[in-house]
């Protein structure tokens, strides 16, 4: 068991270093979340005047979406990095070491969690500078990032599974588009009460909605909001299910 945590730690360090090697590959990750945030905050400001809209400022409403988007985008690189390791043969080297395979998978996901933390923090600082207040304070930020990092680990498994099953970089890269339907079939742009009925039903079935709502509750609501617990449970369930599926794919890849 001791070696399991040591292996996870050392492999995580190796993977985390890849975030900024090269640095130029890291910087563009910030562009799209900040761009979406800026354009939405400016163009949809009038929406906040609608009856039933929960806040006076669309900037406040969209700020959790901006943080979530930056974290969601952080998950897209993990599968690519694994498929590059597979293509180069390095993954084979890891596989024939006396290292627990769960540690190899979790180390990749730790990279996703750290990337989510870095990207989310940059966008958080930006929204704080624009005047958005965090209703639940410092500990609210801690819980928010906990939920977002667990979710980022779970969602990154989609890329890992694709990498293990197809070993094809283009296939893994193409799965990035999944981010868009899952992000837009949520309350990212509008509260659920103002969405058409059919759309709202789809939104309720989307696990991403619960992560986003937990983020929004921690930023704009209060500790008593049920959405916080729901978001945490959905994040943990997503992570456990997806890590299990990734391990099964790993086993299958060696047959």
């Amino acid at each position: 068991m001791n070696t399991f945590f040591a292996d996870w730690f050392y492999l995580s360090i190796r993977n985390i270093k890849q975030i900024w090697r090269p640095l130029l590959a890291f910087v563009p990750n910030f562009f799209i979340p900040i761009f979406f945030f800026a354009t939405n905050a400016v163009s949809f400001q009038a929406v906040s005047k609608l009856p039933g809209f929960p806040t006076d400022s669309y900037l406040n409403f969209i700020a959790p979406t901006a943080i979530f988007t930056s974290v969601f985008f952080a998950t897209s690189n993990i599968g690519i990095e694994l498929v590059l390791d597979i293509a180069s043969g390095y993954f084979k080297k890891l596989t024939i070491m006396p290292v627990n395979r769960l540690a190899i998978i979790l180390a990749r996901l730790s990279e996703a969690a750290v990337l989510a933390l870095i990207q989310g923090s940059v966008v958080l600082i930006l929204v704080l500078l624009l005047g958005v207040k965090i209703a639940t304070g410092f500990w609210g930020v801690v819980v928010m990032f906990l939920i977002l990092m667990i979710f980022a680990m779970g969602w990154s498994c989609i890329g890992l599974i694709a990498a293990l099953r197809t070993q094809n970089p283009r296939m893994v890269q193409s799965l990035f588009i999944l981010v868009f339907p899952f992000q837009y079939l949520t309350t990212s742009q509008m509260p659920i009460e103002l969405l058409p009925r059919g759309f709202a039903m789809a939104v309720k079935l989307n696990p991403v909605t619960y992560i986003l709502e937990a983020t929004r509750s921690l930023m704009l609501g209060s500790w008593s909001d049920a959405a916080i617990n729901q978001g945490l449970m959905v994040a943990v369930a997503t992570c456990v299910i997806m890590v299990t599926l990734t391990l099964l794919s790993y086993r299958k890849a060696l047959k």
Binding site: R14, S88, K93, I96, P98
Partner: protein, 264 residues
């Protein structure tokens, strides 16, 4: 330990294939032996070597390395084998020293003297001056030499080498041969696959030749040349694998690479 490598009736049939890629191969390698495993392209060499290190599951058969069953005691096997692969497989976002430190930790080696050991290995392959450079900056020969050093970090009992000198210039090849001879002299068991017959003749105590998934001949270089009335191992190779080269190159049993793009 009687055998360093023991292979019994090893069979591999890939999904959707009508023919075995490896078809009932059996052989043994004694501790300290330098064993050559030769064959034309598509003969099943790489599939066999991948099964020996548990990278591919066999369809049937038994593989034991240093007395441990690869299927049932994989961690015991992993601790005892080193593998320098055809595709090298380096982390190009890391320096040579970082990679060696990581591998030493993943093999759970004691930390005392780790730095000295890393320096010694890098010096052995003449890469100590570039130890702190990213491996992406290395030439092909440097990468091969580094890969050899990396595969030795945990002092494996059995070293698998899959075409370790392919693409190297004569100087780099000679350097690798020298290291391999020294390692073997110190008692390391080595299994080598190569397309260079001269390499096999120079290095190997015993050679097996496989073709179409089956072992077609086995013995010391002298025995093979005598048995097949040949003047060189290359001549033996051509005699025992003398079918149409075209059939091998087409590799009729290979999976469609693009079908892998869709999860099954």
């Amino acid at each position: 330990m009687k055998y360093a490598i023991e292979v019994q009736d090893l069979v591999k049939r890939y999904p959707n294939s009508e023919k075995n890629a490896v078809d009932g191969i059996s052989f043994t390698v004694t501790p300290g032996e330098f064993f050559g495993f030769l064959g034309p392209n598509g003969a099943g060499k790489s599939t066999t070597i991948n099964m020996l290190v548990n990278l591919i599951k066999p369809t049937s058969g038994v593989v034991k390395i240093a007395g441990f069953d690869v299927q049932h005691q994989p961690d015991e096997v992993y601790k005892r084998v080193g593998f320098a692969m055809q595709e090298i497989g380096l982390d190009e976002t890391a320096t040579a020293r970082e990679m060696m430190q990581l591998h030493a930790r993943l093999y759970h080696l004691p930390t005392e003297n780790m730095d000295k050991k890393i320096n010694d290995l890098l010096e052995m392959v003449e890469l100590l001056p570039v130890a702190d450079k990213y491996t992406s900056t290395y030439s092909g020969g440097m990468k091969r030499r580094f890969d050899l050093a990396l595969s030795l970090i945990h002092e494996p009992k059995v070293l698998f080498l899959d075409e370790p000198t392919v693409g190297l210039d004569p100087h780099a090849r000679q350097l690798i041969w020298k290291h391999l001879k020294e390692l073997n002299k110190k008692g390391m068991t080595i299994l080598l696959t190569t397309h260079f017959m001269e390499e096999a003749e120079q290095l190997c105590d015993r050679i097996a030749i496989v073709d179409q998934g089956k072992m077609v001949t086995e013995g010391t270089p002298k025995e093979l040349m005598k048995e097949h009335k040949a003047d060189s191992i290359e001549e033996v190779f051509l005699k025992v694998t003398g079918h149409s080269l075209g059939a091998d190159e087409i590799n009729q049993h290979a999976q469609d690479p693009f079908s892998r793009a869709l999860p099954k």
